[in-house]
C-alpha cells in the first residue's frame, strides 16, 4: 500500500487507513534510528528542500535529519538568506526551487493556506511543516506515534489538549486526527483562546482545567505564546499559569497511567511545571525522537518509493 497523494498538507482529509500506513511505515524507520549506522539508501538521488519562512529549530532539524538518514540531498532555505526580502512571491520562490529539480518541498510559513497555495503551483511534493494557525500535520502524526508507542489504542482514548487552541496549528491537526481515530478529545483553556464553534468539529470544551483533566489518558499541553500577553487574551502570565498550568497535583486528576505531551519548546513554570516536564509520565523527549522516524516515514511515502 502507498500514500496516493502528491502532498501532505492537512490531516483533515486523510483516512484512518492513510494515517495507519504512515504510523506503520514510521515503525520500520524507528528501527533504523536505533542502529549504529543510522542511514538507509531509500531516497538516494532525491532532493528535499526545507523552505522555512518562519524560524524553527526543532522541526527543521528533524526534517533535515530524517532526509539525511534516508540518503536524500537536503537544502535548507530560509527567508533572510533568500529573495523573499526582495519581494518575490511564495510561488515564484518555490518555482525557482522546483526548477532545480527538488522532489519534495517541506514548507513552514506564517500564513494559513500557504502550503496549499504552493502545492497547487508546483509539481514537487509539498509537506506542510506548519502553516499559520491552520495545521502542523507531521507534529500530530508524531504525537499519535508516541501515544501508540505507549501501547494505547485510539478508540475511546481520552485526550485533553490544553492551552491556546485558537492560535494553534498543532491543536487543529490533533483534533482532526484524534477525532477520526475515535478518541474522545477535550479542549481546555480560557474562552478567549477557543476558536469559534470548535466543538462542532467534535471535541468538548472545558474552561476549568481540573474538570477537563479528570480521568484523561493523554494530556497534551500547548505552548503559550508569551507575546500574546497584552492582547486581551489573558490578563497575566501569572494568572494563566495558575488557571491552566500543568502541575503534579493536576496530573493526579488524570488516569494513573496518563502521559504528558508537549510540542515544544516548553515554557517551564508557565504552561508546565518543571517537575512535570521532567517526570516519568512526560514523553516530551520521546516525541522529539519519534519525530525523526515519523518524518522519515512520510518522506519515504511521499517520494513515491513506497
Amino acid at each position: 500500500m502507498s500514500l496516493k497523494r502528491k502532498d501532505l498538507l492537512s490531516l483533515a482529509p486523510l483516512s484512518v487507513d492513510e494515517i495507519t500506513l504512515i504510523l506503520e511505515t514510521a515503525d520500520s524507520f524507528k528501527e533504523v534510528t536505533g542502529r549504529e549506522i543510522k542511514k538507509v539508501p531509500a531516497l538516494r538521488g532525491k532532493t528535499v528542500v526545507n523552505l522555512f519562512f518562519e524560524p524553527s529549530t526543532r522541526t527543521r532539524t528533524s526534517f533535515e535529519l530524517a532526509a539525511k538518514r534516508l540518503s536524500a540531498d537536503v537544502i535548507n532555505f530560509s527567508p533572510s538568506a533568500s529573495s523573499v526580502v526582495k519581494g518575490e512571491t511564495l510561488l515564484d520562490t518555490a518555482r525557482n526551487i522546483e526548477a532545480m529539480q527538488a522532489d519534495i518541498i517541506v514548507l513552514r510559513h506564517s500564513s494559513a493556506g500557504a502550503a496549499e497555495t504552493l502545492a497547487h503551483g508546483v509539481k514537487s511534493s509539498v509537506i506542510n511543516a506548519g502553516d499559520g494557525w491552520h495545521e502542523h500535520p507531521t507534529q500530530a502524526l508524531l504525537d499519535l506515534y508516541t501515544i501508540r508507542q505507549r501501547g494505547m489504542g485510539f478508540e475511546g482514548l481520552r485526550v485533553a489538549i490544553v492551552g491556546d487552541v485558537s492560535h494553534s496549528r498543532v491543536a487543529r491537526s490533533n483534533i482532526y486526527a484524534l477525532t477520526k481515530l475515535g478518541a474522545d478529545v477535550r479542549l481546555v483553556g480560557p474562552p478567549t483562546m477557543m476558536p469559534w464553534g470548535v466543538e462542532k468539529l467534535g471535541p468538548k470544551v472545558y474552561y476549568n482545567m481540573d474538570e477537563g483533566l479528570r480521568g484523561v489518558n493523554v494530556i497534551m499541553m500547548l505552548r503559550l505564546q508569551l507575546e500574546r500577553q497584552g492582547r486581551a487574551l489573558f490578563p497575566t502570565i501569572r494568572e494563566y499559569a495558575r488557571l491552566y498550568g500543568l502541575t503534579a497535583e493536576r496530573v493526579r486528576l488524570a488516569d494513573p497511567g496518563a502521559i504528558v505531551m508537549h510540542p515544544g519548546p516548553i515554557n517551564r513554570g508557565v504552561e508546565i511545571a518543571p517537575d512535570v516536564a521532567d517526570s516519568l509520565s512526560s514523553v516530551i523527549l520521546d516525541q522529539v525522537a519519534n519525530g525523526v522516524a515519523v518524518r522519515m516515514g512520510i518522506l519515504y511515502l511521499m517520494s513515491g518509493a513506497g
Binding site: 512571491t89 494559513a112 493556506g113 496549499e116 499559520g132 491552520h134 464553534g197
Partner: protein
C-alpha cells in the same frame, strides 16, 4: 443627432413600465411612450422587445487613479462600467493621494472627461488623508464636484470626528457614507469569523465588527440629523438595525453588493483569494437577511464595490492578498438572479440599480424622465453568457464568478445621448 429607441420594453421605475419607445434629443430624454415618431435626421435603434432602462448608477467603485494605475484607471474603469450598463459611478477616495482636496477631485473629473464614457462622480474623503483625525475641506470638495463623503476602507473610528463630519456635511447637504467596521474587532482578520475560519485557521472578522459600527452610525445620524448611507452591508444584524432605524424615521440608506447576496464564506475553502473581500462573505443566514432587506426596501441600492487588484496581488497567499473583487461587468446579471429567484420584481431590481441609488446621493440620474440626461441601457434579459474574466474591460480579473453561466446581457449603453458601448459582433 437624435436617437429613437423603438420597440422596447421600457422600465423607468415608478414612472413608466410597458412597451414603448424612447426618443433622445440634444443629449436629453425628449419623450417616452408608445409609437413615437422619429425626428428628421434621427437614428432609429430597433430593440425588438429588449429592455430599455435608465443607465445604472453605482454608488461604490474603486478606480485606483491616481496612484494605482496598474490595477485600474479611470479610462479602464469607465469602460468596464459602461460594458456592465453603468452610466454613472461614484468613485471612492482611497487613491494615492487620497481624494481629500480640490486638486485630486479636479484631476479625477478631468480624467473622466477625457475617457468620455461614464459619468464619474468622485466621493471625497471625510478626513485628511482618511486618517480619521482632522476633517478634510469638505466644502471645497463639494464645490469642486464631490457628491458624497466617505473614508471608505479606513472607517472613521473616532466617534467624535464622525459626529462632527455628519454635522458639518449638513451645511452642504452631503450624504455621509461609512464602511462600517470596528477596526479593533476586525484586527488582522481576513474572512468571516465562523466555523470555516476555525477549520482553515484563518483570523476571522466577526459580524459584530460591522454591527457595532452600523449601530454607532445610526445613533450619530439620529443625533445630528445627517443623511447617512451605509456601504456594502453584509450581516443580518445590519439589516435588522437599518430596518428598525428607517421605521423610526432616521435618514439612512443602505447598499448591498451582488457577492453578498450570492456567495457565502464556504467559497474561501481552498484559500481562494477571489473570495477575499471586505466586508467578508458571510453565512447563508446573512445572505437570506440581505435578500429580505432588498425585498422589503430596507436595502435601497445594489452597488458593486468594484475593487480591482492585479493578478500577482491575488496570487499571494490568502492572508497577504488584498481584499476586493471587480464587479461592474457581472452586477446586472447577478441582480437578475434575484428576479429569477422571485426576491425582486424586475421593476424593483431596476430601481435598485437606478433611481434608488441616485436618490441616496441626491443625483439627478437613474431616470428616463423627459429632460433628464439621456443615460440609457438596452439589455437582453434572456441572453445567457459565460463570465470570461479575460474579456473584461477592466484592467483586473479578480472575480469569483469566472466560468459562471449567467443570464442578462448588456447590448448597448448610451451616455448623454451618445452610444458608448455596444456588444461587439463576436459577442452577439
Amino acid at each position: 443627432m437624435p436617437i429613437l429607441i423603438k420597440g422596447g420594453r421600457v422600465i423607468d421605475p415608478g414612472r413608466f413600465v410597458g412597451m414603448g419607445d424612447v426618443l433622445i434629443d440634444q443629449g436629453k430624454i425628449a419623450a417616452v411612450g408608445p409609437n413615437l415618431s422619429a425626428h428628421a435626421g434621427s437614428t432609429t435603434i430597433q430593440v425588438h422587445g429588449q429592455l430599455v432602462l435608465p443607465g445604472f448608477v453605482d454608488l461604490h467603485v474603486h478606480f485606483r487613479e491616481p496612484g494605482f494605475e496598474y490595477k485600474e484607471t479611470i479610462q479602464s474603469g469607465s469602460a468596464a462600467a459602461v460594458a456592465g450598463g453603468f452610466t454613472t459611478v461614484c468613485c471612492m477616495p482611497n487613491t494615492d493621494p487620497v481624494n481629500d482636496n480640490q486638486a485630486v477631485t479636479e484631476f479625477i473629473l478631468e480624467r473622466a472627461r477625457l475617457a468620455g464614457l461614464a459619468n464619474v462622480f468622485p466621493v471625497g474623503a471625510i478626513t485628511k488623508g482618511s486618517e480619521g483625525k482632522e476633517l478634510a475641506e469638505i466644502g471645497d470638495l463639494r464645490r469642486s464636484g464631490c457628491v458624497a463623503i466617505s473614508d471608505d476602507g479606513k472607517p472613521v473610528m473616532n466617534s467624535l470626528v464622525m459626529r462632527r463630519a455628519m454635522e458639518y456635511a449638513l451645511a452642504f447637504d452631503l450624504t455621509v457614507v461609512d464602511h462600517c467596521e470596528d477596526l479593533y474587532l476586525a484586527e488582522g482578520g481576513c474572512m468571516n469569523e465562523g466555523l470555516v475560519s476555525t477549520e482553515l485557521g484563518l483570523p476571522g472578522i466577526p459580524a459584530a465588527a460591522e454591527d457595532v459600527m452600523v449601530a454607532r452610525n445610526l445613533f450619530l445620524s439620529e443625533l445630528t440629523g445627517a443623511r447617512l448611507h451605509l456601504a456594502h452591508i453584509s450581516t443580518a444584524g445590519s439589516v435588522r438595525m437599518v430596518r428598525e432605524a428607517k421605521a423610526r424615521g432616521i435618514k439612512v440608506t443602505a447598499e448591498a453588493c451582488p457577492h453578498h447576496f450570492t456567495l457565502t464564506e464556504e467559497l474561501v475553502r481552498g484559500y481562494n483569494t477571489h473570495a477575499k473581500m471586505n466586508p467578508p462573505l458571510r453565512t447563508w443566514d446573512d445572505v437570506h437577511a440581505i435578500k429580505e432587506g432588498l425585498r422589503d426596501g430596507t436595502i435601497d441600492a445594489i452597488a458593486t464595490d468594484h475593487a480591482p487588484h492585479a493578478t500577482q496581488e491575488k496570487q499571494q497567499d490568502f492572508t497577504e492578498a488584498p481584499f476586493g473583487i471587480v464587479g461592474l461587468e457581472t452586477a446586472f446579471s447577478l441582480t437578475l438572479g434575484l428576479v429569477e429567484e422571485g426576491v425582486l420584481s424586475l421593476e424593483k431590481a431596476v430601481e435598485k440599480l437606478t433611481s434608488a441609488p441616485a436618490a441616496a446621493f441626491g443625483l439627478k440620474k437613474g431616470t428616463l424622465a423627459v429632460g433628464a440626461d439621456a443615460d440609457v441601457v438596452i439589455v437582453d434579459q434572456h441572453e445567457q453568457w459565460e463570465v470570461d474574466p479575460s474579456k473584461f474591460r477592466s484592467k483586473s480579473r479578480n472575480t469569483p464568478f469566472g466560468g459562471w453561466k449567467v443570464k442578462g446581457r448588456v447590448k448597448k449603453t448610451i451616455v448623454g445621448g451618445r452610444v458608448v458601448f455596444e456588444t461587439s459582433p463576436a459577442e452577439r
